[in-house]
Amino acid sequence: MPQTGFAGESLSCLRGERLVFREVSFHLEPGGALLLEGPNGSGKSSLLRLCAGLLKPAEGRLVYKGRDIAQDPEAHRARLAYVGHLDAVKAVFTVAENLAFWAALVPGGAGRAQAALERFELDHLAEVPGRFLSAGQRRRLALARILVQPADLWLLDEPTNSLDRAACEALTAAIATHRSGGGLVVAATHVDLGLGTVPVLRLGSPAPAPAVAPEVS
């Protein structure tokens, strides 16, 4: 059993009566990144939700630094940042207010809000209410959120949806900074995030063969 990093050990996921995937394993060392690929419905989002602890694996377990995450869910929540399909942007709050709320949930978050806005070029939109934002701007705001809530493990579900080229580059840079500090990234994506050569976990190989995942490190 690995004592460092984040690992999934022969995970299976059931949604309702349907087996989404089974026997999926991966291992990430500190500073590592993992890309999830596969067709729609192959379980990329489900695997990310498993990693976040929002779903419980039907079989297998997730291990962080040698400890099963189910043993201490609160500690796991404190070290992860999750960006799902939804942007969680309140229409009646301005960009700055939206971000300030998420910053207030963590100690010292407020001091990082301005830098996070600048990183994703949202500083000139700070006073604009959420309902006037475009899809890409809302996505940038969702990504800025993970910069104000510092976490070891980033779980990104299609983070580049609606993003323009400049914002994609800002995301790539943010991920690089995060990894250079020993952070981990698991991302589901269809496009090249510009992360260089990182291990890829391909989900949804043709039935009936089980989804074979490489033991990556």
Binding site: L54, E74, G84, K90, V92, A104, L105, V106
Partner: protein, 221 residues
Amino acid sequence: MSAFSALIARDVRLAFRQGSAATLSVMFFFLAVMLFPLGVGPEAAILARIASGVLWVAALLSVLLSLDRLFQADYEDGSLELLALSGLPLELTVLAKCLAHWLTAGLPLIIAAPVLALLLDLPAKGLAALLLAMALGTPSLSLIGAIGAALTVSLRRGGVLLSLLVLPLYIPVLIFGVAAVEAAIAGLPSISHLLILAAIALAALVLCPLAAAAALRLSLE
């Protein structure tokens, strides 16, 4: 500012920005109470007799009306799963949201109640008991309602089901709330009814966040 108070402040501000907060439930409270003089006739004796019951039923219904916004909006825009992943335990998240709900939907009713009591000619002896009973009873309404709101959060049209789930659970608050006012009007001590209302509120304070958090975890899977 701690995460708990940040969440309360956010929910209160959201409720006021969306204009659905104090104004909406108080307007409903006023209208529902004002229907009774139109329905049963303007005889002061009858109105005074039914005033405490009318005020409590209208308060119950107007709290119920605002329950669906407790978790629904956060569920739909993804905030709820992020709150579930935040450092704040989900039980405390529920408690903070209940407190914010009470501040925006329960407290305004208590402030409006004396005016409506005057309108219905509630005997002046009962007014203090009415306000005390509402102050003790309305927090329970928000807390008990949170269970129903959490159970129906993932349903698109959960409003009717929410009422069916929650209204029967509101009956004890209604009974003892009305009894406290009636006792005061009759010149009897209302302390025992008020103590039972306080006991219900304390039990709800402990149990309802646990139950609602468990229901939310199921909805988020």
